[in-house]
């Protein structure tokens, strides 16, 4: 124990005496924090959570790849490690000390960023602070072990510079840390799933913005944990005290071993598209939470009043304020302005009697009718026309419930959707006559979902 503590104390002391550590671990992430917050007008809505995610991951990458990777190579190349070789010590305490030091150096950054985000930009305190901190620290040790593996297989400071920069840049730009994943073309989205940093970003987003638990992100957690373990074990095995002991070029392939958990997760994600879907949702969430000021419009309130020249302030997806003249400056309310001169604002229309699966019009070939597609399209069309809520009073139940989940979660764009249960009537009662006009191929399934024809009082009272 004494060597571990002594090594950790030494490492932490030396870390804080080095300008590069202060820069990569604190100054650079803070610079990016303020830059991203400004560029994205973080004071205007939920995007601050995304900024926090990005900056924390930038910090993790700097800490692990430069803090661990580059430093370990320098120590070996400068003959510093050599002195340890003749002491009764194995590589393990050195590697463990490096990892613990990384965590200790990172924690202040985490505290500073979360504090700034909350007090300066109004970020809501995270729902799951323990899950958040645990996941972030897991990210730190995982990326650090990748940095250490790189340092184990390179033969010179020059080589390590190249390799670490390549890894750092690709993780920085392809993982959603700087450019959101939703911006990428499909093939690049798939490639990004194989990169460890992507899973740190997505896990962090899910926990921070969606309040998810660690268990909900078990794939990312498992992959990061495995990479850490594999990385440390390999580092012990490949450890070199002196620069004279050179690694064969093929030894660099060991880096791939550390990335195996992410090859697995990546392949799974490429198939399931889970992360991509979630990041789209997150993106949509962010834009919905922005603050907007629609101004200079004519406004029908809905209670009979008409405002000839007014404004509406929308915050976090809800109407916060309606202005009759006296429209404030957008900066004073931290909002994005939307010019609506010459336009009219109405409350959203509500259609309380629809049959979503009924195709509008006539089809030449009924066998080509796809209820699922048609229902989704109809909901989008309603929204486009200004109908913000609809209620279905008779639709295939399964289809209705699944489309409702998609639209109300935000995954598909459409009007808010309410639905009733199956039609409750007697044989031959109103509604059953419609079945006769349905095409053969769907009549049976629609009957089963759509109609409820109880034969006895007890049947009627039971819940199906």
């Amino acid at each position: 124990m004494k060597p571990y503590l002594a090594l950790i104390r030494n490492d932490v002391r030396l870390a804080y005496r080095q300008k590069t550590v202060i820069f990569f671990n604190y100054l650079m992430p803070l610079m990016f924090f303020f830059l991203f917050a400004q560029v994205n007008h973080a004071e205007r809505g939920g995007v601050i959570s995304q900024v926090v995610t990005m900056v924390l991951v930038i910090g993790i990458l700097g800490n692990g790849l430069f803090g661990a990777g580059l430093r370990a190579v320098q120590d070996r190349e400068n003959n510093i490690l050599r002195r340890y070789k003749v002491a009764p010590i194995s590589p393990l305490p050195l590697l463990v000390a490096s990892t613990v030091t990384g965590l200790l150096v990172y924690i202040p950054l985490l505290a500073i960023i979360l504090t700034l985000a909350h007090f300066q930009y109004g970020m809501v305190f995270p729902v799951n602070p323990i899950a958040l901190v645990a996941f972030v620290l897991l990210g730190v040790v995982a990326i650090r072990s990748i940095g250490l593996i790189i340092s184990s297989v390179v033969n010179s400071v020059a080589e390590s510079n190249i390799l670490i920069q390549v890894v750092y840049m690709s993780m920085l730009f392809l993982s959603g840390t700087t450019f959101p994943l939703t911006m990428f073309p499909g093939w690049l989205k798939i490639v990004s799933q194989f990169i460890p940093a992507t899973h740190v970003v997505s896990g962090l987003q899910n926990i921070l913005m969606e309040g998810e638990s660690l268990a909900a992100n078990w794939q990312s957690v498992a992959a990061l944990a495995m990479t850490t373990v594999i990385g440390l074990l390999l580092c012990v095995k490949l450890f070199r005290w002196e620069k004279e002991e050179k690694m064969r070029p093929t030894a660099k392939l060991w880096i791939l071993a550390v990335l195996v958990p992410f090859a697995v997760v990546g392949a799974w994600q490429a198939h399931a598209q889970d992360n991509v879907r979630k990041s789209k949702l997150v993106d949509r969430q962010i834009s919905r939470t922005r603050t907007y000021l629609i101004r200079n419009a004519r406004i029908f309130i809905g209670d009979g009043r008409v405002i000839e020249n007014g404004g509406v302030l929308v915050k976090n997806g809800k109407i916060a304020e309606v202005y009759d003249g006296n429209i404030p400056d957008e900066k004073s309310v931290n909002a994005d302005p939307i010019e609506a001169a010459g336009k009219t604002i109405l409350p959203g229309l509500i259609d309380s009697h629809i049959h979503l699966a009924s195709p509008a019009g006539f089809l030449e070939d009924w066998s080509k009718y796809d209820a699922g597609k048609s229902m989704a399209r109809a909901l989008a069309a309603y929204l486009y026309c200004g109908v913000t809520a609809v209620k279905s009073v008779g639709d295939p139940l399964e289809g209705a419930l699944s489309i409702r989940a998609l639209v109300n979660s935000g995954e598909k764009l459409g009007t808010e959707f309410f639905t009733v249960g199956p039609l409750f009537t007697t044989a031959g009662g109103h509604g059953t006559e419609i079945m006769r006009s349905l095409p053969e191929n769907i009549r049976a399934s629609v009957n089963a979902q759509f109609l409820r024809l109880p034969q006895t009082a007890a049947d009627a009272q039971s819940r199906r």
Binding site: L7, N10, K85
Partner: protein, 309 residues
């Protein structure tokens, strides 16, 4: 293993693939002596020392260091020995006292860092950063680090290479001090006079084998190159008939006849006769020079190579 042997090496072999670096090395180091290893680069001395320190695995042979087998009892051995490597380096921003405390904590037994700093005259550099130390101070720190665990056996690899003469003398004094504390010291060096002055016994190593072993004086005496007496006269001796000087093996006269070089197995005796003769000729002596064979001469004779390229 006998009590008074710190190190015992028998028929040591080490191969790197096809290349045999050490081909049957035998020697012993007695407790409390300063033992020197002399030899050119590539002789296998570094490999041998690394094997003794427990950081390289031998191919075959019997090795005992402080009673331990360096391959099988590495950690126990490393705990008891002190090592001062050539070209030790420490992080720029570590303080002198921090370095001592750090490395001391790796051992089961630790001397007081402050006491060591005092002994090595580094007290006023206690809180200085490593990068601000001079070459001599860095070397003294390296020696302090080698002593932090109070070792009974110390390995010094080229302890004064690259240091200026004044510092070299200080370190020599230090080594002699350590010897008087009954510590066993094994040192490798390129400097002949250092080996001749400090070592109780010296082993000359070439191409993976010990070619000669003994006290510096013993080795010098083995040299076929005998002592050379050189005199410079104020007049030429060219036309004089030179007598056979006693114990003299050869006589050479320089071109201008004024410098006479005589090789002898008993230089003192020969010198007296030469001076008497020159005096009897009525010629004045301007200069007299006597040189003994050095270990380097021994080395060259035994191996045909120079110690330093």
């Amino acid at each position: 293993m006998t009590d008074n042997l710190a190190i015992s090496v028998q028929d040591l072999h080490k191969s790197y693939g096809d290349f045999e670096a050490v081909r049957g090395l035998d020697f012993e180091v007695r407790t409390g002596e300063v033992f020197g290893l002399l030899g050119p680069n590539g002789a296998g001395k570094t490999t041998t020392v690394e094997i003794l320190e427990g950081i390289r695995q031998r191919t075959s042979g019997d090795v005992r260091v402080l009673g331990f087998d360096p391959d099988k009892q590495k950690t126990l051995l490393k705990d008891r020995i002190g090592v001062c490597l050539q070209a030790t380096n420490l992080p720029d921003k570590i303080k002198v006292i921090e370095a001592l405390e750090l490395f001391g904590s790796l051992y089961s037994r630790m001397l007081s860092p402050d006491m060591l700093l005092k002994r090595l005259q580094l007290e006023d550099k206690r809180n200085a950063f490593y990068s601000t130390l001079s070459g001599g101070q860095k070397q003294r720190l390296a020696i302090a680090m080698g002593m932090i665990n109070d070792p009974s056996l110390l390995f010094l690899d080229e302890p004064t290479t690259g240091l200026d003469p004044q510092v070299r003398l200080e370190i020599h004094a230090l080594i002699e001090e350590m010897r008087s504390e009954k510590r066993t010291i094994v040192m490798t060096t390129h400097y002949i006079e250092e080996a001749e002055r400090l070592c109780d016994r010296v082993a000359i190593v070439d191409s993976g084998k010990v070619v000669a072993i003994g006290t510096p004086r013993e080795l010098q005496d083995r040299s076929k190159g005998k002592s050379a007496i050189e005199i410079v006269c104020d007049a030429s001796l060219t036309d004089r008939a030179l007598p056979e000087f006693p114990e003299a093996l050869s006589s050479t006269l320089s071109d201008d006849g004024r410098k006479l070089t005589v090789q002898s197995s008993r230089p003192a005796r020969t010198l007296v006769e030469i001076v008497k003769w020159v005096d009897a000729q009525g010629i004045g002596l301007e200069d007299v020079h006597l040189s003994r064979p050095t270990l380097e001469d021994v080395f060259i004779e035994l191996t045909g190579k120079r110690l330093r390229d």
